[in-house]
Structures are given as structure tokens and as C-alpha cells.
């Protein structure tokens, strides 16, 4: 096992800049999510770490060792592909044992270790099947078993769950997390699904246009993003702009939004917006009024779409909203200052 580090990675494809200078540390034994919209360069970065692409400049280190000149097959990585890429001419057991066979492990040991890996992904007894006889979720597990049976230094996952339906995806998220914890292998995975990134990772790096926007533990990135892009990409956010004042931010209509620090732009998560039915916000909170434009019942929560002097706002209320708050009604909002996040850009 080993940590991975990239330093100043740049890569151009046919004139377009895919990566514009990325430096990142992937801690040993961690589960790192590379999150970004399509075209952000996250897959290119993963393929550079694997060795399928070569950076125009910059360093890639696995376990402190510079792997720039090392071909893929000598990097001791494990990779799960979006299409799973199971070998159709081999059985499940042969697929899983492939890396051991390439390394010259004796046949008997190969069989034992492949069976262990299949048990780890809960597919014991399916070794003699062919890939085309398996369901999508089972193929995913085979691909995972095949990638970890060689005890790689790093496990790379390229959109591992995108081909599965929602129920299966949620089940596999739990499984992936369990397996990664049991094996303890440094894992880097690429996704465009923010929920997947939040669920699986213990650190997330958000990429945009070939640059790292922000990096940190999911809780921190969600609760205290520094940029508008991170705030909006990781879940819903109300973005408010105005003039920086000592108390926080002065909205265009003159109202003061209390924040931990002066700011010209802030983000407020919809679930941080609460109702103050009697018009009195707790001491130190910001009290605002806004007009309801839509009311959406979503089971455990009710989402209110609001408008205040041309600015759209959203409030996500647990346990429903008062019946009076229908479109056109006036809502009294209370916002705690510690949930108002100053943004730098």
C-alpha cells in the first residue's frame, strides 16, 4: 500500500488543455473521490496515475516513487473500468486470477487467492460462470475482485457505479466502502455524481476545467465550501451577493445578512434556512421575509421556493411547512449566522 501524489500535472489533447496544472495528495489507505463535471479532466488525471496517459509536465508518485518512466504493468495498480472490461473468453475465476497468472503465481495459490477475493465481494461459488452469464452488479463485483486480488498499491475506479440502476448503486456504495475498509488499499475514484462522492469518499477533490477547485473531507466541503462552484456542485446552495460590511453582507435592498466574517458573496444551504413564524428570529440570527413561489412536498422534507427582491431562495424544511405557506404568501425566515458561508469566488 502506498499514498499517491501528483505535482503540477499538465496535459493537452489536440490543443485543448485537459489538465492545467494539478497538484494533489492522495493519503495512504484513504478513499479519495475526484469529482467534477464531464470535461473537467478527472478521468484524464486517473488515467495518468494509472499510466495510460503521460502528462506533458509534472510528476506522479506512488509510495514516494516517481513513476513517470514506469509502464502501466509495472506500477502495481488495480483498476475498475466503467465498462468493467471483463475478459469474455475466460471464466469468472480466470478473470479474477488473471493478474496472479501474469505475475507467475503458481496455479494452486492462484485458485485459493481468487476464491478468497470472490468471497470478499460475496460471489463465492460463481467462479465457473462466464461474464455474460452475470448481472451488472455481479460483473462490477468481479471487476473489483480482479483488481484487488493482486494486492495493488493503489486502487483506481473509473465511474464505478454509473452503469448500475439506483437501488443497486446504493447497495454497491455500501459494499465498496466495506471492501475498501477491509482491504485498506489507497483508493482513488472518479465520479460526476456528487452524492456518490459524498457517500464514499473520506476526501474529495473538485475539478473544473482541468484545475483543482477545492479539496478536503466531504463534511468540510459541504458545510464550508470556499467557492461558488464547490458550493453549487456539492448539493444545492443559495448564493447571495452584496456589499461586505462588518456584520457580514449587506443585500442590495439594504438588509444585513449576518455572517461569521465580512463577505461580498455567501452560500446558504437550503436546510439552514428556517422559519420564524412569529417573526422573531433568535438572538444574533438574520430575519428576512420572502415570497413563496412554489411549494414542493418531498416526503421527509418540504422544499419552499422563495423570492426576495428578484433573488431566488430555497428552504428545505424537515417535517413539512405550515399550510398557510402557499405560492404568493409571505414567509418569515430565520438564518443562523454560522450557517452562512462566505465565498471567495
Amino acid at each position: 500500500m502506498a499514498g499517491v501524489a501528483v505535482r503540477g500535472i499538465r496535459k493537452r489533447f489536440a490543443g485543448a488543455e485537459a489538465l492545467a496544472g494539478i497538484s494533489l495528495d492522495f493519503p495512504d489507505g484513504g478513499f479519495f473521490g475526484l469529482l467534477g463535471p464531464s470535461g473537467s479532466g478527472k478521468t484524464t488525471l486517473l488515467r495518468i496515475i494509472a499510466g495510460f496517459e503521460h502528462p506533458d509536465s509534472g510528476r506522479v508518485e506512488i509510495g514516494g516513487e516517481d513513476v513517470a518512466r514506469m509502464p502501466v504493468e509495472r506500477r502495481r495498480i488495480g483498476m475498475v473500468f466503467q465498462s468493467y472490461a471483463l475478459f469474455p473468453n475466460m471464466t469468472v475465476a480466470e478473470n479474477v486470477a488473471f493478474g496472479l497468472r501474469a505475475a507467475g503465481v503458481p496455479r494452486a495459490e492462484r485458485a485459493t487467492r481468487a476464491a478468497e477475493a470472490l468471497a470478499l465481494v460475496r460471489l463465492q461459488g460463481l467462479g465457473e460462470r462466464r461474464p455474460h452469464q452475470l448481472s451488472g452488479g455481479q460483473r462490477q463485483r468481479v471487476a473489483l475482485a480482479r483488481a484487488i486480488v493482486t494486492r495493488p498499491r493503489v486502487l483506481l475506479l473509473d465511474e464505478p457505479l454509473s452503469a448500475l440502476d439506483k437501488a443497486l448503486r446504493e447497495e454497491m456504495q455500501v459494499e465498496l466502502k466495506r471492501i475498501q475498509r477491509e482491504v485498506g488499499v489507497t483508493t482513488i475514484f472518479v465520479t460526476h455524481d456528487q452524492e456518490e462522492a459524498l457517500t464514499l469518499s473520506d476526501r474529495i477533490g473538485i475539478l473544473r476545467d482541468g484545475l483543482l477547485v477545492e479539496e478536503g473531507p466531504p463534511e468540510t466541503l459541504y458545510a464550508a465550501p470556499r467557492t461558488r462552484f464547490a458550493a453549487e456542485f456539492l448539493g444545492a446552495a443559495n448564493i447571495l451577493t452584496g456589499e461586505a460590511v462588518p456584520e457580514g453582507l449587506r443585500l442590495p435592498d439594504g438588509a444585513i445578512l449576518r455572517a461569521p466574517a465580512p463577505a461580498r458573496m455567501v452560500a446558504i444551504r437550503p436546510e439552514a434556512v428556517t422559519l420564524a413564524p412569529d417573526g422573531s428570529a433568535p438572538e444574533g440570527w438574520t430575519a428576512l421575509t420572502a415570497t413563496v413561489t412554489a411549494r414542493i412536498f418531498a416526503g421527509a422534507r418540504t422544499i419552499l421556493h422563495l423570492e426576495r427582491h428578484g433573488t431566488a431562495l430555497r428552504a428545505s424544511l424537515p417535517g413539512g411547512a405550515p399550510p398557510a405557506l402557499v405560492p404568493g404568501a409571505e414567509a418569515r425566515l430565520a438564518i443562523p449566522p454560522d450557517r452562512v458561508v462566505p465565498l471567495t469566488g
Partner: protein, 260 residues
């Protein structure tokens, strides 16, 4: 109504098959007929097969055809498979043109191709003879190989090779364990095609072979011109038997390729 149409359809099919196979069946029957004058009823005899064994020219020509076809198959399959992989994997200037250039040789009449080769080889100073015949046959067979192998490659997921490499497989292991097993049905089918193209070839062989040391189709043609003997029926029956066995094998492998 449907019943009538079905009957017509079935009748049509039988007529077509009769049209295709009756001449061959008659020839096969006559090769086993003792009479050299096609007298009926057929009186079973293997005398023409025995006579064939004594016909040195036909035997030599048959042997020539077999080894030329085998050499052609080996060269054309290797070059064609490599070309198909190259065309599939790499993007380079002129690739589309190269790919398009593969098809015309299949459509150009062999008589024209043969004349062109004869003139070209004469120009280069390459004498007529078996080496020239092999070169000509290889040139004819390569497009078939590229097309058959190329069609299979279209369905190949490049992630398979990447997966193999990520698991530590060296380039030869990737080729031997992943790429070639996937391509195998197509490569075998392509090889059988190449063999058939060479073995059935008349015009090119006729133009490029040295007089007196030629291939089976050319020798059969010469024999017929000299005066027909039922030995030709015998050798043709053997060739047809072998060709049909080969083509059935191709059909099987081609289908095998689809299911996988």
C-alpha cells in the same frame, strides 16, 4: 394462401439448389463411372482415380496448388491481421484512403489484375514461376483478411487490453491471453478465405506460373483443351469435396464469432 406461397417458395429453393448442385453431382457421378463416354447407367469404378494417381502432371499441379495456398494463407493472414490491427488502433493521415483502397482489388476483374501483375513483374524483371504466383495470391488475399479481422475488431473494447495491463500483464501476455483469443475465430475464418482465394485462383496463376509447372486449375484447363478425360472429373470431385468442407468450417467459425 400462405400454404400456396410456402409451396412456391420451397419449390424455388429446391430449383436454386438443383441449379447449383446438379452439375457438380453429375460430375461426381461420372468420376465414378467406368465408361469414359458418359454412358448410362453408371457402372461404379474407381479407375479414373487410379489413373489420376498415375498422372504426374495433374499430381504435381495439385501439390503446387496446395503448397502455394498454404504459403499464401500464412503470409496473407499474418500481414492482413497486422494491417487490420494497425488500421483499427492508430489514427494517422491517409488512414481513410488506405482503408478505402482495400476494396477495389476485390471488385477489379482478376483478368485485369493478372495482366497488370504480369506487366509489372516483367517490368521489375521478376521471372514467371511459383514465387511470383505466391506474391500475386498474397496480394489478392490480403483485402479479405483485413476485412474479416477488421469487422471483429470493431466490437473490441479497448478497455480489455488496458485492464490486462493494469493487472501487470506484459505486452506479449496481453496479446496472447486477451487480444488474440478474442480475434481467433476471425483470424481462422480469414485464413480459410485466404486459402480458398489462392486455391481457386486461375487467371493470376495462369499468367504468373512457369509453363509446365503450374497449379491445379491451370492444369485442368490445359487438360480439357488437350482432350477431355474423366480424370479431370475425379480431380475436380476431390477439390470440390475439400472446398466444401473448408467453407462449412468458415461458416461455422463465422457464426461462432457472432455469439461471443
Amino acid at each position: 394462401m400462405t400454404a400456396v406461397l410456402n409451396a412456391i417458395g420451397r419449390g424455388w429453393l429446391i430449383l436454386t439448389l438443383a441449379f447449383l448442385y446438379l452439375p457438380i453431382l453429375v460430375m461426381a457421378a461420372m468420376s465414378f463411372n467406368a465408361s469414359p463416354f458418359y454412358r448410362l447407367p453408371v457402372e461404379f469404378s474407381t479407375r479414373w482415380y487410379a489413373a489420376l494417381m498415375g498422372n504426374a502432371a495433374l499430381k504435381q499441379a495439385a501439390w503446387n496448388s496446395v503448397w502455394i495456398a498454404l504459403v499464401t494463407t500464412a503470409i496473407a493472414t499474418a500481414l492482413g491481421t497486422a494491417a487490420a490491427i494497425g488500421l483499427h488502433r492508430h489514427r494517422f493521415p491517409g488512414r481513410a484512403l488506405l482503408q478505402a483502397a482495400l476494396y477495389p482489388p476485390i471488385a477489379i476483374p482478376w483478368l485485369i489484375t493478372g495482366t497488370a501483375m504480369l506487366v509489372f513483374f516483367y517490368f521489375l524483371g521478376i521471372p514467371r514461376g511459383s514465387p511470383a504466383v505466391v506474391v500475386g495470391h498474397v496480394a489478392l488475399a490480403i483485402p479479405y483478411v483485413v476485412i474479416v479481422v477488421g469487422a471483429r475488431l470493431k466490437g473490441f473494447d479497448p478497455a480489455l487490453e488496458e485492464a490486462a495491463r493494469s493487472l501487470g500483464a506484459r505486452p506479449w501476455q496481453v496479446a496472447a491471453w486477451v487480444t488474440l483469443p478474442y480475434l481467433a475465430p476471425a483470424v481462422i475464418a480469414a485464413a480459410l478465405f485466404a486459402f480458398a482465394v489462392s486455391f481457386d485462383q486461375f487467371v493470376i496463376s495462369y499468367f504468373l506460373a512457369a509453363p509446365g509447372d503450374t497449379t491445379l486449375p491451370v492444369e485442368i484447363y490445359a487438360a480439357i483443351r488437350k482432350g477431355f478425360t474423366p480424370e479431370v472429373n475425379a480431380v475436380s470431385t476431390i477439390v470440390i469435396g475439400l472446398s466444401m468442407a473448408l467453407m462449412l468450417l468458415v461458416a461455422r467459425l463465422a457464426r461462432f464469432g457472432e455469439v461471443r
